[in-house]
């Protein structure tokens, strides 16, 4: 079975995932991914009737079991500052992150 996740595909995935890997780990992970894909390949062999519905949750949610939507009532959270306090960098109540460099294109 040929490698499905080539180095090129792998690098693309790493970019999409906002990761940046050391070479050694990258090779280990790529190998593991390809092994997993072999296991997943079994899925493709399962004979499926075309109209088999998908299940988003195993348990069906009939209307009677489903929680109704919430009423539109304001309940202020008591400690917004506590949330902000978790942020690595804050200035004047704003969370600070590095900028997104713009490449000016002509």
């Amino acid at each position: 079975m040929s490698e499905q996740i080539t180095k090129e595909v792998f690098d693309h995935l790493v970019g999409l995932a906002a990761l940046q890997l050391e070479m050694e780990q990258a090779e280990y992970l790529r190998k593991q991914l390809n092994n997993q894909l072999k296991a997943i390949a079994e899925l493709e062999a399962i004979p499926l009737e075309k109209d088999v519905p998908i299940s988003l949750h195993g348990v069906p949610y009939e209307a009677s079991l489903s929680a109704p939507p919430r009423e539109d009532e304001w309940k202020p959270y008591p400690d917004p500052a506590g949330i902000l306090a978790q942020a690595p960098q804050v200035v004047d109540g704003y969370i600070v992150v590095p900028d997104i460099p713009h490449t000016e294109l002509k």
């Binding site: 990761l19 593991q32 348990v59 079991l65």
Partner: protein
């Protein structure tokens, strides 16, 4: 026998009747922790000493001081004639994947290393509201991704109290280990593919994966949101039933928590199994896995000891009046893992997007003026290999060009698995089962480092537990003897949606009928030599 070795309901009774105090109970548990747990999991890299190898290492964060204060409050309430709740004074541990207000919540990952949750998860809150006392946060596989607990960023990772060279199982390894070692009678775990039942089986305790949606997920750091179930780990069935009764129920903060009254799980729990129809399926007596090199599917029967524990259990249940139905077909069981590989990865990759160094948790100290660079360095430093694997696989199988081939197909396969269960539990069907009896795991606890690193084989350890997660149905694992190496064997009962009560009844019947068996008198290795 020490106070900390008593079960939860007994402790609650003693505390409520003031034959002992909650403070005494907590002290006893803390003493046990001091004796057997060794150093807690930590991000600092320190080589394992010989001493370390004999310890349980269940905890990441021990909240002893706080537990004693809570215990005092419970005692004061009792002194004042108030009712602190059904679990008054009962210590419990919490898998460190649940948020607890003002407590470090790590998910066993470096990326959340400094995160202090500003709120408390619903099931934890419900335990506390029932008078139970939080003893601390216990270790797990990083973000629950694993079956051995070895992937935790917090090392040493937990070790099996029955044999500290063995893994406790995972991902709720700290939960199962802490309960087995008598550090606490109860623990709150989570089960996404077997993460409560498998470590419960490995550690010789009771683990319950409730019906999906039976227990609120609010405050549970998500792995695979459509599969995650919080549930109890306990030393016996009644304790597990009592704990589920406390944590179950609808929650205005979780739209997927079922709007369904919670029954009294203890009521009638000892009525026996007379008239219950309990099935055995050949599909749960073999495992199928791909050859790591060729990818070719290999199938092999379960180890004889494991299979025998199940058939013997069936005989005992039969002797008590249950109808045993053999040859129940569960043809889609073996697709559980491949479908799980897809569904859980897609959801996990998305659930891990939020760890980006912007608003909480780790942010790389490396100076950079580029946001994307900051994301990448942070996520590379913060995530261990298991989250990275899941993210990358999730990215791959959910990319637009593959989602039909993989993701949609996996959701269809989930339907097939679900249909297996619907057919056998259908009261008007051919089998009309009340429960399906299966082994919990293909093997007993494996050696540390024996599987870790092979993500495929590791995953196949969940083959007998993951179908219940796909189908949403409840399952319970309970101890059923020891293998020839003295390691616990677990058996599993699976039931129809919201039929936990039936499972508890059957499990309790088995527990009662085996109460006097020799293996029940055996103690975990870390407790041997105690009176």
């Amino acid at each position: 026998m020490e106070i900390c070795d008593l079960n939860a309901l007994e402790l609650a009774r003693l505390v409520r009747s003031r034959q002992t105090s909650a403070v005494e109970v907590v002290k006893s548990c803390l003493e046990r922790v001091a004796q057997v747990d060794g150093r807690p999991g930590s991000l600092e890299q320190m080589p394992l000493s010989d001493e370390d190898k004999k310890r349980v290492h269940a905890f990441i964060t021990l909240t002893g001081e706080n537990a004693l204060q809570q215990a005092e409050k419970v005692d004061q309430m009792l002194a004042a004639g108030e009712d602190p709740g059904v679990l008054a004074g009962v210590p419990f541990t919490v898998k460190d994947i649940f948020c607890v207000q003002d407590t470090l919540t790590t998910a066993a990952s470096k990326i959340l290393a400094n995160f202090t949750a500003p709120y408390t998860a619903t099931p934890v809150q419900r335990m506390q509201d029932a008078g139970a006392i939080l003893l601390g946060k216990v270790n797990l596989d990083e973000f629950t991704y694993g079956s051995s607990n070895e992937s935790s960023a917090y090392q040493p990772s937990p070790r099996n109290p029955w044999n500290t060279d063995r893994v406790p199982g995972g991902s709720s390894g700290g939960s199962a280990a802490s309960v087995a070692a008598g550090e606490a009678p109860l623990s709150l775990g989570t089960d996404t593919a077997g993460s409560i039942r498998q470590p419960a089986a490995f550690c010789g305790v009771v683990g319950v994966k409730p019906t999906y949606g039976r227990v609120s997920r609010y405050g549970l750091i998500a792995f695979a949101s459509s599969l995650d179930c919080p549930g109890p780990v306990a030393r016996d069935v009644k304790d597990a039933a009592a704990m589920l009764g406390v944590i179950a129920g609808s929650d205005e903060r979780d739209a997927t928590a079922a709007r369904l009254a919670v029954p009294d799980y203890l009521e009638g729990i000892e009525e026996g199994v007379k008239g219950l129809r309990i099935g055995l399926s050949p599909d749960y007596f073999r495992i199928t896995y791909p050859d790591p090199v060729s990818g070719e599917l290999l199938s092999q029967p379960l180890p004889e000891e494991v299979a025998r524990a199940v058939t013997e259990a069936a005989e005992k249940l039969s002797a008590m009046g249950a109808d045993i139905v053999e040859g129940v077909p569960m043809p889609n069981t073996r697709f559980g893992i491949p479908a799980y590989f897809v569904i859980s990865r897609v959801e996990a990759a998305s659930n891990l997007h939020r760890y980006d160094g912007v608003k909480y948790g780790l942010r790389s100290e490396a100076p950079t003026a580029d946001l994307k660079e900051m994301y990448k360095i942070t996520r590379n430093q913060g995530f261990g290999p298991q989250p990275k694997l899941r993210i990358l696989m999730g990215m791959y199988v959910s990319a637009a060009q593959y989602s039909e081939q993989y993701y949609r197909r996996a959701l269809q396969v989930r339907t097939l698995i679900r249909q297996d269960f619907e057919a056998i539990f259908d009261p008007a069907g051919a089998y009309r089962l009340d429960a399906l009896l299966t082994p919990t795991t293909p093997t007993t606890a494996f050696k540390m480092a024996s599987l870790y690193g092979d993500s495929v084989l590791m995953q196949y350890a969940d083959q007998l537990t993951v179908p219940a997660n796909h189908a949403g149905v409840p399952g319970i694992s309970l101890p059923a003897g020891l293998d020839n190496e003295g390691l616990p064997i677990g058996i599993q009962l699976l039931g129809a949606d919201y039929a936990e009560k039936t499972l508890f009844r059957a499990a309790r019947a088995y527990e009662m009928t085996t109460q006097e068996e020799d293996w029940r008198k055996q103690k975990p290795e870390v407790l041997r030599g105690r009176s």
